[in-house]
Symmetry: C2
Subunit: 711 residues, 2 copies
């Protein structure tokens, strides 16, 4: 233990946000059994800035400037113009150019770039997404899919925003299934141009940021057809609007049409729209040709022979969107939780056993709704750090192999799908935890929820992403199986049978129950062990994947209709396995991160937070553990009560844990988390204290009646 | 079986909404094992209109008129004025006067009134809530808390909206704990007036609909103090703003101040605001004096002697808000699901085994995310019907007893808390199920979600309401225990011990597992039995309540601090018991309603829907059933696979089940559910068919490579 653990809880002031945690230790009504240790908030919040701490801190400072903040209640037209101006300011700062080549004025630092980019969500998610469209998609497509000549020719204007661009991949008819987009680009050797065409309404490009108003060019994805052969989806650079003298977007160029997507559930600072093409001619040179080129005579060539692998390589080069959404979602959860916990530590409701009303953070229901989410947010944070490392090592070229790319894509899919859903649930829960006040826009959470909503379905629909993860798990499993010799396979089958017998029969459960009997404390202690949590989480993933793999086996020999049916029957189980995998990833990242927490007191508290996360996962899937004989019902009974104990022990650290995320009032921008509630509560209590002291306080009818009865 | 069950599925057309279910039977890729029976959509949608069918149908028709629709993207100022005008139109129609006395032009029909009122949510939730504030709260306070003279004097202007009013109960500092509001009304016998006063900032009235702009009067709740005694919270009629010549609201009257709550997460057509009072004089006659009056000399009198019972009687008279929110939430879930299911039956994505892409409703994941919600919505609907009956029988005076009132309040609390949360989850799930299209405001769901959000915390915070239900369950339990003689008690304790031994020991589970072994089908059949479902759901409530009751016993003899701590430790368990109770209520209502479904084919399908609901509840709480020995792990394994079978059997009825709710395109107002998607898909498929037939289709590089390999 360092000395930090000896500091009394009461005197700690909030060093980072200025939102005084007045309520933190004033809960006279309830005794807390504090977790050992003490969070060093200043140290932890610096530590959490991570690998590119300076750049992240600077981006966070930018997000705190009022010029970049969302103005609530603006019309979408005003909001769109404001966000465009903000993007221009970002371009001027150069903050958004970090990922681009140094020869073009960039920083060649993809990891740092994303670290900064995901901080923008605290200013305005519309700004994050509009910037994401411009630099993360439009310009990135030029960077990753274009050759050096094209980069040199097209990137500077994309980088400095003199050409705002749309990323025209999705169509009304095809979102998740990008390989099936219907827009065609047919090569015409006569003119050495591609004929870009939208064959029917469902093939209109749709939901494209920048497309409704601001874009003057687009990177358009279409089926490349030359010499009668469709070579699959490729990307083309296409000017789409006239550029006025002042550089702003004018009318559509000939052959191009479009539509405004109009009002949306959120992100109304982004001008999403539709585009369609009527035999638009695109010069041969504007096929972004890094992975596929067409010669003058129409001969197609590519460095990647397999059309499937080529397609996934092209798409994979744009994985950064998913990575950054994971980080942004994690930040949104933090903001919601910091608001709700700060308010709950100041707000009082219902009389306690003394004269004061109870601080609502002390209620059992409130601890349950907020603290496990704080724990899960830490897991999400640390998992994102690992993802960012992986992303940087691939995209900086440090470790760019097919294997690391595949790992990156799978991890990004698993974490993006998990953290965006978690952010929405968390924002909803925190909004409700703040009662009616949570519904007011001045308290931020509803606005953030509305903006984050679409994160669950863009850059890869979460359900589709989880299937992608599930398929990777299956192929890893199949690969592992392949290495087994026939003799080994026989042994394996026998072992599995024994495992099922061991885990699923009442016999073993009876034995475990006997071993556990009467010793709730020991059973709980066992659950707190790192190795126990790891074993429970790992075994679950393994068993689920195996179960799906075995169930799908008959599909190999079935006709296509029957095979599709078998796959479909196990789609939910596959998605569940992917979720379990994401849970394990997050738990491992959290556990790994504990080793890097040098301050002992902080580490002690965070270890309890990690345990809370681990046990929350076990509790969430308790039926599975019981059915599959991994936990006896005796022990299962202890999971919930042990979580309850962890909640009480973490209660005194709640404010520290959210403050350590390092967002200040300029990021929270929630009146109820500004200290105003504490002020109101203090004023009210002072009023009643004075009234009681004055002797002028009216008697309550109830106590008068009681007194009358006694007389 | 009637002949309806013999009609082939394919030829049924949608009779109610005109949203052709094109995708319904075209899923060539997947074989469906249809549930027996066939939904008679026209019959069912009429049947579901319920007890006040004509009035509900007429209110629904009103909600379908474009004049009452929300215009998306309006500023809050425009929206507020529009909704006020709509309220005037409703007042002119008289639809909102059904609950008021006939002598004042009302209909004296409280049930019919609510049935109509909750339909307004389909037009614009802001309209529902603004109307709710005016007639359900402000005017209702006069009706229920005032005496006849006050009704005659004050109601007409409230009814015809010549006096828009605020319902000034909640304060910034006290929402859920109404008994503790800090505003005081101190009687002054000198002037025969009350001195209405706000002692500090936390006592400002807050979140009051109509208060920001439109209200010229308010029903204000304050602590009534006379002759030095505080008689608790009472309601006062207080003019708050000048009335301009044209009848609109002018400046605040002297002593009154306020503030606009500003932009909110939704419901921006309602002008919520704050009010405060600086020694405002209220005539003695304007204390709404049905349950408490003050004589000229300041003597207080009430027909209800106990101040506690008086308070709850006054609050109970305003229960209709909760009842109507339950109905409105149910309607919102229906709209979200009808949009998502209709779209899912038309939308196609990813190639199937044939040439067509797969209708997304056919995906296992999609069935899982939508159909159990359809089932739960039916349960919510039928439970609400029962609640409305109960409400009507109490408020029409047919069966107005303390017991029925208590039942009504508990049921309203349980159902409102359940259905509002369910609606939010359902709207979120349906929005995501519609992908990016779901995020566009033109497809409605995000707008509805934003508006419904606050339903979870207003008219009683859901967590607080569930605690109220839990406490009622505890007191029922205590009452039941009281009736037991000491000898009986001893027997009871022994029986309980035996029960625990029976249910919780591995022995019994081993026996059950043995009995079940190998017979998954039989185990599933067992779960489908009505009595099994009832037993599982009922036993769970009973056991949970008892467990909390026993755990709380030590609190009786503990000091207040310790007692509060014990209660707090079991708050979550109490809320969980209340949720289990609400689940049982809804399941019983659904089961009871099946008997009223005369059409056999429809009843057969709805019985399967009920089973899906029942088993979904069992699956959701499977860990509890396992831990408490109610289900063996062998049988538990069959729950999920049996649900999967039910989903496949209900798949062909999905469109019928949502169409039967009877909302038309004028209520859905979602482009993706208008048939446009089917049109786009048909056009795309026709294009590809023609292209294939023409022989001009480009060869894919992949098939070309395959052919080259073969050669």
């Amino acid at each position: 233990m360092t000395t930090t653990s000896d500091r009394p809880v009461e005197t700690t002031t909030n060093t980072t946000t200025g939102t005084a945690g007045t309520g933190r230790a004033t809960s006279s009504a309830l005794h807390h059994e504090a977790a050992e240790g003490r969070v060093d908030v200043a140290w932890l919040s610096t530590h959490l800035l991570g690998r590119w701490a300076d750049l992240r801190a600077s981006a966070r400072a930018t997000a705190g400037e009022s010029a970049f903040h969302k103005i609530e209640g603006q019309s979408k037209e005003e909001h769109r113009e404001r966000v465009l101006e903000q993007c221009r300011a970002l371009a001027a700062k150069g903050q958004v150019h970090l990922a681009f080549p140094e020869r073009l004025g960039g920083g060649n630092n993809p990891g740092a770039n994303l670290a900064g980019f995901e901080e923008l969500v605290a200013a305005d998610p519309s700004l994050q997404i509009k910037a994401g469209v411009q630099w993360g998609l439009f310009a990135s497509a030029i960077l990753h899919l274009g050759v050096e000549e094209q980069q040199d020719r097209l990137l500077p204007a994309a980088m400095d925003l003199s050409v705002p661009g749309a990323f025209a991949m999705t169509e009304t008819g095809h979102g998740s299934d990008v390989a099936a987009v219907a827009t065609t680009a047919t090569y015409d050797p006569e003119t050495q141009e591609f004929d870009l065409h939208t064959p029917f309404r469902a093939a209109w490009k749709d939901y494209l940021g920048n497309a409704a108003v601001h874009a003057t060019a687009a990177t358009v994805f279409a089926q490349l057809i030359t010499r009668g052969v469709n070579h699959g989806v490729h990307c083309f650079y296409v000017p789409i609007r006239e550029v006025a003298a002042d550089g702003t977007a004018g009318a559509f160029l000939p052959g191009i049409g479009g539509e405004d997507d109009g009002q949306k559930g959120g992100l109304n600072g982004v001008d999403n729209g539709r585009l369609h093409f009527d035999h638009v001619r695109v010069p041969r040179a504007d096929l972004l040709s890094r992975y596929g080129a067409v010669a003058e005579d129409g001969t197609y060539s590519s460095s990647i022979d397999s059309p499937g692998r080529r397609f996934f390589t092209m798409l994979g080069s744009l994985v950064q969107g998913r990575v950054s959404l994971d980080g942004a979602a994690s930040n949104a959860s933090k903001i919601g939780l910091q608001i709700a916990v700060t308010y709950a530590n100041q707000r009082r409701q219902f009389a306690g056993p003394g004269t004061d009303e109870v601080v609502i953070m002390d209620y059992g229901t409130h601890l349950r709704r907020l603290l496990p989410r704080v724990a899960e947010t830490y897991a999400t944070h640390f998992a994102h750090d690992r993802l960012l490392d992986l992303f940087h090592s691939v995209f900086s070229g440090e470790q760019d192999t097919p294997e690391t790319r595949e790992d990156l894509e799978t991890t990004a899919a698993a974490l993006k799908a998990t953290s965006t859903r978690f952010a929405l649930d968390t924002l909803q829960e925190t909004r409700e935890a703040c009662g009616g006040a949570g519904f007011l826009t001045e308290n931020r959470i509803t606005s953030l929820h509305a903006d984050m909503d679409v994160y669950a379905t863009f850059e890869g629909d979460n359900t589709v992403l989880l299937q992608l993860v599930g398929k990777r798990l299956l192929s890893d499993y199949a690969r592992a199986m392949k290495g087994i010799t026939p003799g080994g396979m026989a042994r394996y089958v026998v072992e599995k049978a024994a495992d099922a017998a061991m885990h699923r029969t009442p016999l073993r459960r009876a034995a475990q129950a006997l071993a556990d009997s009467g010793s709730v404390r020991r059973a709980a202690g066992h659950l707190r062990e790192e190795e126990t949590q790891r074993a429970l989480l790992t075994e679950r993933v393994d068993a689920m994947v195996e179960e799906v793999a075995l169930a799908l086996r008959p599909a190999q020999k079935a006709d296509p209709v029957k095979a599709a049916e078998i796959f479909n029957q196990h789609q939910v189980a596959l998605v569940d396995a992917a979720k379990a995998h994401a849970d394990l990833l997050r738990w491992e990242a959290f556990t790994q991160a504990l080793a890097g927490i040098e301050d002992e007191g902080t580490r002690a508290v965070l270890t309890t937070v990690r345990d809370l996360f681990g046990l929350t996962l076990v509790e969430r899937n308790l039926a599975w553990y019981l059915i599959n004989g991994r936990i006896s019902s005796q022990r299962a009974r202890t999971v919930t009560s042990y979580i309850d104990r962890l909640l009480v022990r973490l209660r005194p650290h709640a404010q520290d844990l959210v403050d350590a995320w390092g967002f200040g009032p300029e990021h929270l921008r929630a009146k109820i988390a500004s200290g105003a509630e504490a002020e109101r509560q203090d004023e009210a209590r002072a009023y009643y204290r004075a009234l009681r002291a004055s002797g002028d306080a009216p008697v309550s009818e109830k106590s008068q009646k009681k007194a009358a009865k006694r007389a």
